[in-house]
Amino acid sequence: MAILEVRNLKKSFDSVEVIHDISFSMEEGETLTIIGSSGSGKTTLLRCLNFLESPDSGMIKVKGEELLCNETLSGMSEKILRRKRLHFGLVFQSFNLFPQYTALENIMLAPTLLAKSDSSFDASGIEDNAKQLLDQMGLSDRMDNYPHELSGGQQQRVAIARAMALRPDILCFDEPTSALDPELTGEVLRVIKDLAGKHMTMIIVTHEMAFARDVSDRVIFMDNGIIAEEGSPAEVIDNPQNERTIQFLSNYKKNI
């Protein structure tokens, strides 16, 4: 069964439709990358999945549970909305760590708050889990540092650990390395690849073509709010059929 199913998703901003009728699905453990030119709607799609934007219509189903079906978020109670969005995690381009908390505290904050209000969420393992995540990110020695004491690459790895601490079913990345200096992108891409190896279900928006080809099970090329081409990296990146995909990828040929 598909872990994620998206049907006929639509989203407009002030009568300009940015996502036109998008449908796709994912299997558990799959790594899906989304590529596409600037303004094609990649960020908007991730934001709809994470309920930072309200889709105008369409269906989102995770593990067989319909999170949303042709309804807007404003009709949903805050409590239900919060529970539903926990199926997804999001790693931002600009990290968005909380500056007043250490790396460890950044990771522990949300689970700690959640455990207070939701007794079904186990509070005892939060700290150990956070430390283990930092270890997995290669940052055990940095857990007591504040974000401003960390490099961009380290900050982004803390942000990944923070998103994973709530054990989302699907982890989304919005250009996780585009705010980084080139020499720091490698360390972040490595931990994402590591997660792919552990069969974390992930949707990754990226402009790193070599990485996309290396890490993905499947690639989606978005153009003007639609999925123009979809398939394995060998199909979409190495042997694109769609005119727009070919044109888009020709700009990246040097990088591949």
Partner: protein, 218 residues
Amino acid sequence: MFQIVTLTLLEGFRHTLRLFFLTLLFSLPLGLLISFGSMSKLKALKGPVRLIIWVVRGTPLMLQLLVIYYGPGILLHNNIWGSGDNGRFIAALVAFVINYSCYFSEIYRGGIQSIPIGQYEAGEVLGMTKRQIFFKVILLQVIKRIVPPISNEIITLVKDTSLARVIAVYEIIWEGQSYIKSAGIIWPLFYTGVFYLLFSGLLTLLFRRIERKLSYFR
């Protein structure tokens, strides 16, 4: 003589301090309410609140003192402030509170709006409630950013209290000046300056401490 002057000035300074602390006590929280009004999504609330802020910040405090003290009596034929020192003091306090809450509200608004939207969104995708986001994530960052402008404003308030004399609220400068007429001496006036310097110096040290306390993050 020195001792007499010191005692009189101390008495005057007591009024200055009373006006100062009471103004802060009311205007710091009131300013927060006003800043929420000025950021409201409701146009019917935001518009009038911004208009009031504009008028209050765009006119001299001295003018506001006069209007608030004399206005009700002349326009409504009802001197709501009552007579005597106490009435005048309350009128002055009301004017100061209105004036300073508007200034503080703009500082709060600037501080709140300077927090990147990504901080809210990070909290949201982590399943935090609006309250948790404000109190656990946003508030301390806002406080850190507004301490320097608020401390500036507060030090200005120390000196602005002397304006209350236009409606005959006896504060320290009034007392100092009285010696020019009564004794023909000017040094008490300089002496009042020492009070202000010491007090604002004390406040400066206090705010520097707070800033240092908050310097562990950026």
